[in-house]
């Protein structure tokens, strides 16, 4: 439909939104990039602290032990640095949550009250992530936590401890907790994807004598490929932006053992009060997520 009316009348629909977006989103993004090169972007106050213009901050961040800790990497002990922690997060969380999401979505499709169980699992998506982080810490607590209860029941009493307060287990407990929180997302999306596969396709395969494994890998998984791309993109973006969970449970500790990029930016801003460095970490975070965003945007715009 070609809508009539002048360009002005059409743009009047967009103007209010774009005024807000330009002032409070686009300008700040551009200003953050500028600030990362020690150029002051805010009128009225110099927040660069008079550092010389250039890419110095990038060297400083990339070489910082908070970003990549070579000692930690060589000895395979925490802290390994924020970017490594984010990478570990993706490496563990992404496959776990996708496999769990796909299996559980398939399972819940075939059991009584599947939609009720699905809404149980979705609760992790509903609550504030700050509460999510507290619930993780609570559940991994030595005395109060349900995780250690299971360890005790199964005779692994020696392993029972407050997981979030030790350098070598803090990050892993948060990652497992994030699987618990985020699987509500993957289950829901995969359930919607499964519902769109025609029943006849699967029934025909059953009649032909195909077993569960064949049906899963030959019919379900290929049909879910576009959904899976969305899930992967969304999950990686979530993993890279992770902040609240870590803030609430460990504050990046102990000793930086669960520090992540988004929290490192906050650390530079609030504790160190070095704004150009904070802007640099934020820009690096954005550069890291950019390829994923591009893939996601392409998928959306190509679909039209």
């Amino acid at each position: 439909m070609k809508a009539r009316g002048s360009i002005l009348s059409k743009f009047s629909f967009l103007i209010p939104s774009f005024i807000l977006i330009i002032i409070f989103v686009i300008y700040p993004i551009v200003a953050t990039i500028i600030l990362s090169f020690n150029i002051n972007p805010v009128p009225g106050i110099d927040i660069t602290k008079g550092k010389p213009i250039g890419a110095e901050n990038y060297y400083e961040v990339l070489l910082s032990f908070k970003f990549i800790n070579r000692h930690g990497l060589e000895t395979l002990s925490f802290p390994m640095g924020a970017i490594i922690h984010n990478i570990i997060w993706i490496a563990l969380h992404l496959p776990l949550t996708i496999i769990l999401g796909l299996l559980l979505a398939t399972l819940f499709q075939h059991v009584k009250g599947g939609s009720i169980i699905r809404s149980f699992i979705f609760l992790g998506m509903v609550i504030p992530m700050i509460v999510g982080g507290l619930l993780i810490q609570f559940s991994f607590d030595k005395d109060l936590g349900v995780v250690n209860l299971f360890l005790k029941i199964t005779g692994l009493e020696w392993a029972a401890r407050s997981w979030t307060i030790y350098p070598n287990t803090a990050l892993f407990s948060l990652i497992l907790g994030s699987v618990w929180l985020w699987t509500g997302f993957t289950v829901t999306i995969y359930s919607a994807g499964l519902a769109s596969i025609p029943k006849e396709t699967i029934e025909a395969a059953v009649v032909d004598g195909a077993d569960f494994k064949t049906i899963l890998f030959k019919i379900i998984v290929p049909q879910l490929k576009p959904v899976t791309i969305t899930v992967i993109a969304m999950t990686i973006l979530w993993d890279l932006k992770i902040f609240d969970i870590v803030y609430a449970s460990t504050l990046g500790g102990p000793g930086g053992a669960s520090m992540v990029l988004a929290l490192l930016m906050y650390d530079y801003f609030a504790r160190v009060q070095n704004y150009p460095m904070a802007a640099t970490v934020a820009t690096i975070l954005t550069i890291v997520i950019l390829p994923v965003v591009v893939i996601w945007v392409r998928m959306i715009t190509r679909g039209k």
Binding site: S17, I29, V126, V131, F138, F212, I215, V292, G303
Partner: protein, 292 residues
């Protein structure tokens, strides 16, 4: 025989093969479901009992003395009153829902129905902004709000939340409007209605489900947000509830009595919204996450 038939009433055959497999699948599925909500049950159990009773695990139920003391302590905490935080969260979240939904609905209609120059560029820009990290905007926002005397004010935070919500709501409602039948709008146009009249008199009324979905998700998002509030509000009297929670932790020993009731208070509102508006919430959630 009768009992067995009753037990297997939900059994539809197919993928899981034999009835026995189906039964096992049910048991596994429900066990997983229950395990999944255990932390929620745990935090609730801890919140309604004196802390001395749960120090060796909230699952021990003798003795079991229900009390509201933890809730009273949290709501009327002398430093960070969660009652105050609760109200502040509402004061922030309600306008931060209404403003962006209204503005983004207009923009979304333009993207869905009009053709104009640079439309595709503007739309792709919106998509990129949807994915931007909050950290990427906050430093200039902090100093800009400071210059505008809006730092540490409700209005400042509301402005930021409203602007931040516009890209995704625009995207969501654009998809919604695109799927509406065009006939009514075309008839109205033949009758000489302007774009504005068509939008407010025809499109908006029939789009109410989409508007509700977007509002519900935006409200929950703002209520749940922590980062913007953390950066922009410092006055304990103006802090939102998610922001107060970590501050209740205490220096050395974590007071789980206080923290558990605080957690319940912070998540009760999004949970109620989720339950009451379930259809809209899930519809919005799927629409947000999947392209249509």
């Amino acid at each position: 025989m009768g009992a067995k038939r009753k037990l297997l009433k939900g059994y539809r055959g197919g993928l899981l093969g034999s009835p026995l497999k189906w039964l096992i699948a049910n048991i596994v599925a429900w066990t997983i479901g229950v395990l999944w909500v255990l932390p929620f049950i745990g935090i609730f159990m801890t919140s309604i009992r004196p802390f001395s009773e749960v120090v060796s695990g909230w699952w021990s139920v003798s003795p079991f003395t229900p009390t509201l003391k933890n809730y009273v302590d949290a709501l009327f905490n002398p430093m960070f009153s969660l009652l105050r935080g609760f109200m502040n969260s509402f004061i922030i979240a309600v306008p931060s829902t209404i403003i962006p939904v209204m503005l983004a609905a207009l923009a979304a209609y333009a993207f869905a129905r009009f053709s104009f120059p640079i439309k595709n560029y503007l739309f792709v820009t919106m998509l990129f902004l949807m994915a931007a990290p909050q950290q990427m905007t906050i430093i200039p926002i902090f100093f800009m709000l400071n210059n505008m005397r809006l730092l540490n004010t409700y209005l400042g935070l509301i402005l930021i939340h409203s602007s931040w919500g516009i890209p995704w709501i625009t995207f969501f409602l654009r998809n919604y409007f695109s799927m509406l039948p065009k006939e009514l709008e075309e008839i109205a146009r033949v009758d000489g209605a302007t774009n504005r009249q068509i939008f407010f008199k025809i499109v908006l009324p029939i789009s109410l489900p989409g508007i509700i979905s977007a509002s519900v998700l935006q409200f929950a998002w703002v209520w749940n947000d922590f980062f913007f509030a953390l950066m922009l509000i410092f006055d304990p009297n103006k802090m939102v509830i998610t922001q107060m929670l970590p501050r209740l932790k205490g220096q050395y020993q974590i007071d789980w009595g206080l923290l558990s009731s605080g957690s319940v208070l912070a998540m009760i509102v999004p949970l109620i919204v989720y339950i009451i508006f379930n259809k809209y919430y899930m519809g919005g959630f799927r629409g947000w996450a999947m392209k249509k």
